[in-house]
Structures are given as structure tokens and as C-alpha cells.
């Protein structure tokens, strides 16, 4: 490295650490003095560039960041609340829809059977007591008493289950009683249907649906059936 190259390098980067540069600095007193001047000038320059920094700059930066991150946290929390509310709303809507629209399988089977053999289309005659006893025995019951005027009694199947259908005369009109052994339900409840007035109640060996005209005292018929029929387990 010659003097010209050294001084050019020195003016560009006084702290240059290349071995050729350092060797030339050691070997050439005039260039060493030149470099010392430039470095001295840089030190003065560095000092001059150190302008006053505003008071509490660091604290103000941290304050602003904490305000920002607080807002961000609140925004995040709001988003989370909104999300949670949305999920709850969706669950609520879905639950509501389920409650309103979900028809339990037992009820669907009851409605299907009633639509297949509507009470209104059955002749208003009376079947024999023997036929009634046969049907009730087939579905696991024993007739012990009177259940009133019975227009119709038959066996039908829901999947593998043998069920019995009776159509009896109620106080208002014909009443369909479906005897469903092996079809268990949690407890007595109204039939899930807009068109039909009915109840589904548990029995010892399954369940029983009673469907009649609006205003028909279905629970009276239920009590009557419970009194007249004994169910085998």
C-alpha cells in the first residue's frame, strides 16, 4: 500500500484494520500523523454529533409502548369476547334450532304410524275382546280390566320391535294408543308434533304413545291403560 492509497482509505474509514494498512501506518511517519489527525477530527465530530437527547426519552417511549400494548391487549380481549359471544350465540342458535326442529326418533315413529293408519279412517266398530287380548299379549302385556270401546287393534313393526296399535273411543274423538315394548324413553313428555295432540309415557317394558283430538284428556286414558294392562318385563 502506498501513501496515496493509505490516505484515501484513511479518509474513508479511519479505523480500518487491514494488515497492509496498519503496516503502512507503522512504517510511514507522515501517514501515521495524517491518520492521527483524521482520527482526532472524527473524535471531535463524534462529540459534536452528540446532541442533547430530550429528557426522559426512554420513559416516554416505554409509556407510549405500554399504552399501545394495553390497547392491543384490550383489542385482543374484545376480539376474544366477541369470538366467545359469537360461539355462544351460534351454540344458542343451534341449540334453539335443535330444540325447535329436532324430532326424537320415537316421536317420528309414532307420527309415521299414525299417518299410516289414521284414527279418522278406521271404522267406528268394536273389535272382539279376544283380538284385543292377543294384540296386548303380543307386545308383552296382560289385559286385566276395561279400556273402553276399542275400534282397532293390530301389530306393526318398528325396525325389529313388535309394536301394538289400538284405536279407542275417547271423550272427544278416536284416540290412538301405540304400545312400544323395548322402546325406552327418559320420562313422560308431550309428542313433538305441531299437528298432533299426544303424549309419550314410559311403561315397565318400554313406552306408550297416546294421541287424540285437541282437548282429549290423554292423561286420563293413560291412567286407564295403566290400570287395565300389566306389562311383563
Amino acid at each position: 500500500m502506498n501513501c496515496l492509497e493509505f490516505r484515501r482509505m484513511c479518509m474513508a474509514e479511519p479505523g480500518y484494520q487491514d494488515s497492509d494498512y496498519l503496516r503502512h501506518q507503522q512504517e510511514c511517519p507522515r501517514c501515521a500523523e495524517y491518520a492521527a489527525n483524521v482520527i482526532r477530527g472524527d473524535k471531535q465530530l463524534a462529540k459534536a454529533l452528540r446532541v442533547d437527547v430530550p429528557d426522559n426519552l426512554a420513559s416516554r417511549i416505554i409509556l407510549r409502548q405500554s399504552i399501545f400494548s394495553g390497547r392491543a391487549e384490550r383489542r385482543k380481549a374484545r376480539r376474544m369476547y366477541a369470538l366467545a359471544a359469537g360461539v355462544l350465540l351460534a351454540i344458542g342458535l343451534a341449540g334453539g334450532w335443535f330444540i325447535v326442529n329436532h324430532v326424537p326418533e320415537v316421536d317420528r315413529a309414532v307420527i309415521a304410524r299414525i299417518n299410516a293408519v289414521p284414527a279418522s279412517r278406521v271404522a267406528k266398530g268394536q273389535i272382539s275382546n279376544a283380538e284385543l287380548i292377543r294384540v296386548i299379549r303380543t307386545v308383552g302385556g296382560e289385559l286385566n280390566g276395561e279400556i273402553g270401546r276399542v275400534h282397532y287393534a293390530s301389530i306393526y313393526y318398528v325396525r325389529e320391535h313388535q309394536c301394538g296399535q289400538l284405536i279407542v273411543q275417547g271423550a272427544v274423538g278416536p284416540v290412538t294408543i301405540l304400545l312400544m315394548p323395548g322402546v325406552y324413553i327418559g320420562g313422560a313428555r308431550d309428542l313433538h308434533s305441531r299437528e298432533l295432540n299426544g303424549i309419550v309415557v314410559p311403561t315397565t317394558n318400554g313406552s306408550m304413545a297416546i294421541v287424540g283430538e285437541p282437548g282429549e284428556p290423554l292423561h286420563d286414558i293413560e291412567q286407564n291403560m295403566r290400570a287395565a294392562v300389566t306389562w311383563r318385563l
Partner: protein
């Protein structure tokens, strides 16, 4: 060890020794580097209010993407890069038609007794063209080598060396009371 290397090490040390939560990391960066960053911003935009705003914005952006900073020793360079982008964004947005000169108060700051030669030097730096001033700031304030400055500015190392050479040459000419156009390259060498 040169002045520039010392400068870099001193600012990196307190940051690299603090480990902890995001907030702790951030505060360590702020306390270690905010003053240097402010000075850099001030000489970049030559406006005290704007410089503080730039530094605030820089640290806010740094907070948002602190996870991207893997090596604490690179923090200063990372912050300078953010600050430069912020400055460029601001400049692009507002495009100040007239570059205002620095007021004497801006040069002196809060200190009552700033030596006349320091004020003269500050005036000379402020009057340098941005293309000369910025590499000089990065080297003298930031302690970066020509190669590192070239990376910051997206220039070749040779171009940076030329700019630094001319920056010092012009400063010297101004401070010696000469018109820099009359100072020949050779006479400086």
C-alpha cells in the same frame, strides 16, 4: 481498537446481557439505544420534534416485531433500518418542498455553553448533502464499517468509501473556511 469498534460494543453490551420477557427485552433496548437512535434521527431529519417522533415510531414498530430480532447484538442495526424506513415513509408522504435549515437553538440544544467549534462542526454536518451526511453518521455515531454501511444503504462498498471520503473532505473545507469546490482532491491528501 478504533473509535468505531468501541462505539458498537458499548451499545450492544447492556442489551445482550438482559434476558427475559418481551417487555424486559424491549425496555433493555430502549434504555440502551434510544439516545443513539435519537441522535441519528436528528441528524437524518435535522428537526428535534420530528426526530423524537421518528424514534417513538421506530420503537413501536420494534415492539410489534420484537420476535424477529434473534440476536441482540444486531439490535442497533435492526433499529436503524426501521428508523430509516420510517423516515423514508414520512419523507415520501409529506415531501417537504423546502428543506429548512437548522436554527441555532436546534444546534445548541439545551446546553448553555456549547463551544463555538462544536457549533461550527454541527452546522457543517447539517449543511452536508444527505448522501454524504448519512454514511458519515453511520460511521461516526453508529461505529459501522464501510461494508456494513453499504449494506444499510444498498450501495457498493466503493460508493460508500467515496461518499465518506468526500464527506470528510467537505467538512474539512467548510471548517477551514474554504469553498469546497476550490479544495482539490490532491491538496487534501
Amino acid at each position: 481498537m478504533g473509535i468505531h469498534q468501541k462505539c458498537k460494543q458499548n451499545t450492544a453490551f447492556p442489551v445482550s446481557n438482559r434476558v427475559g420477557s418481551k417487555q424486559t427485552r424491549f425496555e433493555a433496548l430502549v434504555y440502551a439505544l434510544s439516545a443513539d437512535l435519537y441522535r441519528y434521527a436528528f441528524w437524518l431529519c435535522r428537526d428535534r420534534g420530528r426526530a423524537e417522533e421518528l424514534v417513538q415510531e421506530t420503537f413501536l414498530r420494534a415492539w410489534r416485531s420484537l420476535h424477529a430480532l434473534r440476536d441482540e447484538k444486531a439490535a442497533k442495526g435492526w433499529l436503524i433500518t426501521i428508523l430509516r424506513r420510517e423516515h423514508a415513509r414520512w419523507y415520501e408522504r409529506y415531501r417537504p418542498e423546502i428543506e429548512h435549515g437548522l436554527e441555532p437553538d436546534d444546534l445548541a440544544g439545551r446546553s448553555d455553553s456549547v463551544p463555538a467549534e462544536t457549533l461550527a462542526m454541527r452546522r457543517a454536518v447539517a449543511d452536508l448533502g444527505a448522501e454524504y451526511r448519512e454514511p458519515l453518521l453511520l460511521q461516526v455515531l453508529g461505529g459501522y464499517s464501510c461494508e456494513e454501511i453499504a449494506n444499510f444503504l444498498g450501495l457498493s462498498k466503493g460508493a460508500v468509501m467515496t461518499r465518506l471520503f468526500r464527506a470528510r473532505q467537505r467538512l474539512r473545507a467548510t471548517l477551514e473556511g474554504q469553498d469546497d469546490t476550490t479544495v482539490s482532491h490532491q491538496s487534501q491528501l
